[in-house]
């Protein structure tokens, strides 16, 4: 019995007021440690609900783990010496795990800065404005062809959905894959990008880097894609993949490739997105 008559139950999952106060103290310290490890210099301010939920969630997990370990390894004790011993062990466990958590948290929280993001964007821009990509991101009623980006021959027009018109669809010639024997490129769902995603002006002149970046990041114009959506588009969209395997012309010559490989484009996009998609 305590001096105030309060019952002092033992460890092992049973409520222990003295140890609980110790845990609560370490809860606060642990919260502060986590938040500082995540790059927040003043955890008492500018803490978003997401950060708090993340921190509390992790902290609770750690705390439960510590309690389980103490209950498993330290038998029920009633002596003051035993409780002190348990507390020291608890403190050591919490400190060790907080240190490990801070270490783990420090590594993934490093995001590329604006400069790195802008450099990555320039790499992405170099691909987007290559003929294999920009020939279908026009501002006009027609697509373009070839490395010289001339107007597509044969009176081909955009059509209401960017897939041509009845009787003269994109699919009239372009199949699900390249037709190297006849020189016609192909990929799944061959079509023009919508006018909202134009990267040229109406005179077929390529837009500056800043404008293309703004177009790409404007969710009212880019089919409501956020950063992860843009990354996924660069990773998986068949027409994007086609640009890196564009097939051969009728004379057997290979079409030119973008300045980056697909893997490099994805890596640059990741860096740019991680940096917050900065625009020049």
């Amino acid at each position: 019995m305590s001096t105030n008559g309060e019952r002092r139950p033992a460890l092992g999952g049973v409520r222990v007021p003295w140890s609980r106060r110790l845990c609560e103290t370490w809860e606060s310290s642990l919260t502060i440690s986590f938040l500082r490890a995540r790059g927040n210099p003043d955890p008492t301010k500018n803490v978003s609900p997401q950060f708090l939920r993340t921190s509390i969630g992790v902290r609770s997990t750690f705390l439960a783990d510590i309690k389980r370990r103490v209950a498993k390894e330290i038998p029920m004790v009633h002596s003051r010496t035993g409780r002190l011993h348990s507390a020291v062990l608890l403190i050591a466990s919490v400190a060790a795990m907080a240190g490990a958590a801070a270490q783990n948290d420090a590594t993934p929280s490093t995001s590329p800065g604006r400069e790195a993001g802008l450099a990555a964007w320039q790499q992405v821009y170099s691909v987007l404005t290559h003929p294999r990509c920009i020939n279908c991101h026009t501002a006009t009623n027609y697509p373009q062809q070839g490395d010289d980006r001339h107007r597509h021959l044969f009176n081909v027009v955009r059509g209401p959905g960017g897939k041509g018109v009845p009787g003269l669809n994109c699919a009239t010639c372009h199949q699900q894959s390249n037709a190297d024997s006849t020189g016609v490129p192909g990929a799944h769902n061959w079509h023009l990008a919508p006018l909202s995603m134009k990267w040229q002006d109406t005179n077929d002149k390529i837009l500056p880097s800043a404008q293309v970046c703004q177009s790409l990041t404007d969710r009212s114009r880019n089919d409501n894609l956020d950063g992860s959506g843009i990354l996924r588009h660069h990773q998986q969209e068949p027409l994007v993949l086609w640009a890196f395997q564009p097939g051969r012309r009728r004379d057997g010559s290979a079409r030119s490739l973008p300045p980056l490989t697909h893997d490099q484009l994805v890596a640059a996009t990741k860096t740019w997105v991680a940096a917050g998609m900065p625009c020049p």
Partner: protein
Amino acid sequence: METYKLTVNGQPKEVTVDPGTPLLWVLREELKMTGTKFGCGISACGACTVHVAGIATRSCVLPVSLVGDRPVITIEGIGQDPVGRAVQDAWVSEDVVQCGYCQSGQIMAAVALLKSIRKPTDTNIEQSMGGNLCRCGTYVRIRKAIQTASQKLA
């Protein structure tokens, strides 16, 4: 050489050709269906137009290896379709044809247009038919015949 099983005008066909052989030559030389014409070989003129899975397709640039199990309809079989029949009748009533070489492709493209837009405007007609060339210049009669067929189908 590989063997391909095709469905042409509702009939099963089997051919053994090089995978890169354009469908146009499979139709003309292997299946002896010469209604579909060779005009340019580079999908520029439309004389080779057939329907593949309902889509007007330039058979001169479609390798037979990419046809798959999609049904193929040629000028020989388009009359089995109500829209195709209406277009053929309109072509006759409006006396569209001059030399006739491009007309197979013209009819196939017109049928694709009317199947998608039952009452096309002149702009619709010009855009959809703009890829089919006629050296005889029968464009005015072609447009009139499409309007006639459209009215008949209404």
